[in-house]
């Protein structure tokens, strides 16, 4: 058997394509939900960390440290297989979304912190001197500038979340990877796995390259 029959078998690929595309849809839904929730959670965490005072600040730090230390796969398995023992039973989709968002929120918070701390002190002072309240200082002045600074690392984080969605296949989520392994079993041929790998790469490569270009441009402009 040639390499083409084994790994790049076109008829097998065409046969598996509808399954793979269904899986891709689920992967995208899972990834985008987790990216959105992770970003929102990260914003809350960073504001608590920077402005939460002596009680909430350290709690936010503790959360960020713990969730940056725990492997996503371990967290996912704990959520899916352990939480039902205390009566909390999540669907595969929500188990995976929770695990990915909880971890992504911690990373997003750290990225946003770097962004907020990268805004010159004079911007905070000008906003305060004008009498803007704390919320307005953030929404009108600091965050628009901070987010611009951290678009590249936030995009990198989003790419990681998208890749980590493949972990959801271990909790029987019919995502792109799970569909590919099932198609492989049906066809008794690994081509669907190769197909899934190619789809992941095609989906994420433009973003990976985009981050590179964006960082180069930001560096050229000096900030």
């Amino acid at each position: 058997m040639s390499v083409f029959d084994t790994f790049l078998n076109w008829p097998v690929f065409i046969e598996a394509l509808p399954m793979l595309l269904r899986g891709l849809g689920i992967t995208l839904g899972l990834g985008l939900t987790a990216i959105g929730l992770g970003l929102a959670g990260g914003l809350v965490l960073v504001l608590l960390r920077l402005y939460g005072g002596r009680l909430l600040g350290p709690l936010a730090v503790a959360y960020i440290d713990v969730f940056r230390s725990v492997p996503v796969l371990v967290l996912l398995i704990v959520i899916y297989y352990a939480l039902p023992f205390v009566g909390l039973r999540l669907s595969p989709f929500w188990a995976a979304t929770s695990a990915l968002s909880l971890v992504s929120a911690a990373y997003s918070a750290e990225i946003l912190r770097a962004g907020i701390e990268g805004v010159p002190r004079g911007q905070f002072e000008a906003a305060r001197a004008l009498g803007l309240n704390a919320v307005r200082q953030m929404t009108d002045i600091i965050l628009p500038q901070a987010i611009k600074l951290v678009i590249p690392p936030l995009t990198s984080n989003a790419i990681n979340v998208m890749k980590d969605t493949a972990l959801a296949s271990v909790v029987a989520m019919p995502d792109l990877l799970k569909q590919a392994t099932q198609a492989q079993a049906l066809a008794a041929n690994p081509t669907p796995l190769i197909g899934a790998a190619v789809i992941y790469v095609l989906m994420l490569l433009p973003f990976v390259r985009g981050v590179g270009l964006l960082e180069a441009r930001l560096n050229r402009r000096g900030r």
């Binding site: 000008a126 009498g131 009108d140 500038q145």
Partner: protein, 244 residues
């Protein structure tokens, strides 16, 4: 003339360094007060304590009847106090017009339309009518600082604080900013100006105070201070900064 700013025994420390040491003075409404002194003498710290960008450690500051340091009165004090910074601190992501109109909308509750009308008038007054849609990075330093002045004026403050407004400018742009400030002083707004521009101090100030090592050393009308300085530290300072 009623007193608009009053400082009583104000002291500020940064760690073991005493930036302000028992400073007491009053500013009358409508007065232009120029603060001079060597670098590190506490001039900037002084005006930054007035609008609470720095918190003083001892003494009392009252601005327009409001006590600086009382959190409930902080917004009122800042709304009535405009500040112009050495490094302009314009908001780079907002147009010139929005830079000026933002605070009146967010703090005074004006509509965007009214605030932008006000902003256009002010920008015209500082000679920037042609630049309202530009972004700060597209302007020269002198133009940026004039936007900074318009931004402070847009709140219609009772008191304007200038923190070395021309120190970051190329020499050829200093004049255009000082001209705007001089015109402002004539309108009767109260101004406290920290500057190294002795010519400006002499021409425009109603009163000059000289600071050294965090202490208010000498004060008086510019003619007295510049032509008949009493304190040897002031004499030394003037000798060093005035053209030879």
């Amino acid at each position: 003339m009623p007193t608009i700013v009053s400082l009583r025994g104000v002291t500020k420390r940064f760690g073991r360094f005493t930036a302000l040491d028992d400073v007491t003075f009053d500013v009358q409404s409508g007065e232009t007060l120029v603060v001079i002194g060597p670098s590190g003498s506490g001039k900037s710290t002084l005006i930054r304590c007035i609008n609470r960008l720095e918190a003083h450690d001892a003494g009392a500051i009252v601005v327009d009847g409001f006590t600086v340091g009382d959190t409930r009165q902080l917004t009122r004090i800042r709304a009535e106090t405009g500040m112009v910074f050495q490094n302009f601190n314009l908001f780079p992501h907002l147009s010139v017009l929005r830079n000026v109109a933002l605070a009146p909308v967010r703090v005074r509750g004006l509509s965007w339309r009214d605030a932008e009308d006000r902003a256009r008038k002010l920008l015209e007054r500082v000679g920037l009518a042609a630049h309202v849609t530009k972004y700060p990075a597209q302007l020269s330093g002198g133009q940026q600082q004039r936007v900074g002045i318009a931004r402070a004026l847009a709140m219609e403050p009772k008191l304007l604080l200038f923190d070395e407004p021309t120190s970051a400018l190329d020499p050829e742009m200093v004049g255009e900013v000082l001209d705007v400030m001089q015109a402002l002083a004539r309108t009767g707004v109260t101004m406290i100006v920290v500057t190294h521009e002795m010519g400006f101090a002499r021409r425009v100030a109603d009163r000059v105070v000289f600071m050294d090592h965090g202490r208010l050393v000498e004060e008086g009308p510019p003619s007295t201070l510049f032509d008949a300085p009493r304190d040897p530290r002031l004499r030394g300072f003037l000798q060093a900064v005035l053209p030879h």
